[in-house]
Assembly symmetry: C2
Homo-oligomer: 438 residues x 2
């Protein structure tokens, strides 16, 4: 047996351990994204996370409101409701019970592009949970008996909008600002829902619940290879693809007042902004934080804090695959409404003069902190993976997004703001009296 | 130099490492809570968390709506607004900018018992963030010039309630169901706000922003000893205490219809339930999940899924230090309102027959999963630490709460439900026509 220098050995052991720990830590910090594309076209996007027990899931299908036939707008909404009313060998109740036994917190939603199912559960229940969700979407009963109850709920949901003017004004803004059919919402149209038949909902399912164009995002306590295997087994014969419609060349934009006997005047404004994949998008993210950020943006400071024009005001940047938009909401008294609108418009125009070094620094810090916060939420990350894949064609790690933000300079933001075209905004007001708009 | 057996040495080294890793992991899983009580009475409750970079903060002061003088109801609300308008050497704008530079996401809120400041920031910015918040609450300008703008915002906030009937009906339910002054809300009273003077707000600050009765909850990337030191330095001369008022012996409960020309009828119902520290509280948590749980509770199943009476219905259990309550909300069409109300009441009464083994198991699984999800959110945990301290006199680790839930038996829940008194609920309806109530 060779003689050995204990000290040297210990030093080497320590080095090995240290490297190992650094790798572990690095792996954890990086949260590498694993992607898989199944032969039927379904995409799986996974960000495994150590040190958490939950797993966030976000599963989208190309079956959003824009996919409805123009005389069946609301089929996707009714489909979303009908999916949870029994599938495979389970009736509505036993499906819900089985999901409860997995400890699943879940919801379905109909957006413009996608119908989505979101869930948070323990990683230990993930396989069972995905199994149940698969049955729900691939083998739903969509029974004729469910049509009338679901129709009734969807009509009531539409009715309830009348009692939520802040929400309604934003939907009406979208309807006017975007080209059809991307100006629709997750409520459908009354006349179409009233006459919807089971076959229309079934058609929506057949056309839209297809693997090619569907994406599953997972983040948290998840073993990717097991999930790939599970889905391979489940999706043996699932096939099909679809494509989104193109924009209609209809008139859009302009100004509209909706008369309502509300206590407040609800003001909604939209401007076009860069699409998600445009190189200006990250510049607009910084700029719109300066403009509309909660508790310190220019709108908040000027309209609320300095002029006390309204309790609630804010602006945000929403990105889509082909277009983006900046939207502003303000709710105020009838007497203050004109000044509120004028101030919001003036603040938007003032942005073209650029932002200061200090504003730039604070906005960037805010975006970077926000990244860390959302990175700690498995459900937020699952949603972001899918959203990136849809909008950019690939998911981004937090480090990539961080690097993108860190690379932005004040000069770039201000150059962008000065070349941003002086476009006419779309304006929607709702309340007892119309406003003057030049 | 002694001869050495490399193998034996390596084995020992590995054992040491393994034990170390197990300890690390154990520490991480336990998330032990560190508490500190300062000599001035302030309590600090900290749950350090490895593997996160954020820190959630929840700081409460005994300065909620119940503390307002009966003819100055709204002083606390105005105080909450005025705190963010300058403190120490900072004016409103520079305070906001400094918080932005910390990447702080923050908000203030006025509840029944407490005025609270909540924030999420990076652990690396925590000391700066706490420094700024301390200045904000200990040395606010509360300038006379700010009174009129703040009054205006608070009145607008009150006005905006008229356009949110779902929210308004719940506040009116509370006003009727609870004894004064615990039946107040975070909006104040119009006449009091209209005549509020700077001295009233200053009094509210002097009386309520006191250390004894204040609590700071922190969870995430935090070094407790550093924070204790920081606060010791900051709070040199901060002193004072207060106590909450006692319940008035006023009439409460009953039935009320508020006429409104809304599209829907908004129905709100409340029953008394166990206080937080009562041994029945955990039994009610299980039971109320079966009763009102979203997407599978009895209310949801019966009212929405089976009878299609309304799109939106749910029930929840709210705990207070001396009382708890079960509250139900349903929004429906005028034609369906009577049946909706009747069904909600019938489902509550049916609970006294007990729940099934299956319902019990699913509810417990749901509560346990929910614990894991909230345990992964630093802001949710910071809030829970403070809430436990206030309601129970001590913070609970997730493991303690889990053990409490795991110890509950079906027999206990059903025994509780059968002895739950058949009390008259408080009922508030808002809409175009009143309902029949037996």
């Amino acid at each position: 047996m060779p003689q050995c220098d204990q000290h040297t050995l210990m030093v080497r052991v320590c080095m090995v351990i240290e490297q190992h720990l650094i790798r572990m830590k690095g792996h954890n910090a990086l949260n590498t994204i694993e992607t898989h594309r199944f032969s039927n076209g379904l995409r799986l996007l996974v960000e495994p996370k150590k040190n958490v027990k939950s797993c966030g899931l976000h599963w989208v299908f190309p079956s959003g409101a824009c996919m409805d036939h123009h005389d069946q707008v609301g089929a996707s909404v009714m489909l979303g409701e009908m999916l949870v009313r029994g599938a495979g060998s389970m009736d509505s109740r036993s499906m819900s019970d089985a999901m409860d036994r997995c400890g699943m917190r879940r919801s379905t939603d109909v957006g413009v592009f996608h119908l989505s199912a979101s869930a948070t559960m323990l990683g230990a229940s993930l396989q069972d949970g995905i199994g149940l969700l698969s049955t729900m979407v691939l083998d739903p009963h969509l029974s004729g008996e469910a049509v009338d109850p679901v129709r009734s709920l969807c009509l009531q949901s539409l009715d309830s909008l009348r009692d939520e003017p802040q929400h309604e004004v934003m939907l009406r803004l979208r309807a006017r600002h975007r080209h059809a059919p991307f100006n629709r919402n997750g409520y459908g149209e009354r006349s179409a829902i009233e006459s919807m038949e089971r076959s229309h909902v079934h058609d929506a399912w057949r056309r839209g619940i297809v693997p090619d164009g569907s994406m599953i995002g997972l983040c948290g306590d998840v073993d990717t290879s097991k999930i790939v295997q599970l889905l391979e087994d489940r999706f043996g014969s699932w096939s099909g693809s679809t494509s989104f419609p193109s924009e209609a060349q209809d008139e859009r934009g302009g100004v509209e007042h909706v008369h309502r006997d509300t206590a407040q005047v609800h003001i909604a404004i939209a401007w076009d902004a860069p699409a998600a994949a445009h190189s200006d998008a990250v510049l607009e993210r910084v700029a719109s934080r300066v403009f509309g950020g909660s508790s310190s943006g220019r709108l908040f400071t000027e309209v609320r804090q300095k002029q006390s024009l309204c309790y609630s005001v804010g602006g945000s940047y929403r990105v889509g695959p082909d277009r983006g938009e900046i939207v502003v909401y303000a709710g105020t008294t009838p007497e203050r409404a004109q000044q509120t609108l004028d101030t919001c418009l003036a603040e938007y125009h003032r942005m073209s003069d650029g932002i200061t070094e200090e504003e730039f620094g604070r906005a960037r810090t805010g975006l970077e902190s926000g990244l860390v916060f959302s990175g700690e939420s498995t459900s937020a990350r699952a949603t972001a993976l899918v959203s990136d894949q849809f909008l950019l064609g690939h998911p981004r790690s937090l480090d990539e997004v961080r690097a993108e933000i860190a690379a932005v300079t004040l000069e770039e933001v201000n150059a962008y703001l000065s070349r941003r075209s002086r476009q006419e905004p779309t304006i929607l007001t709702m309340g007892p009296a119309a406003l003057n708009i030049d």
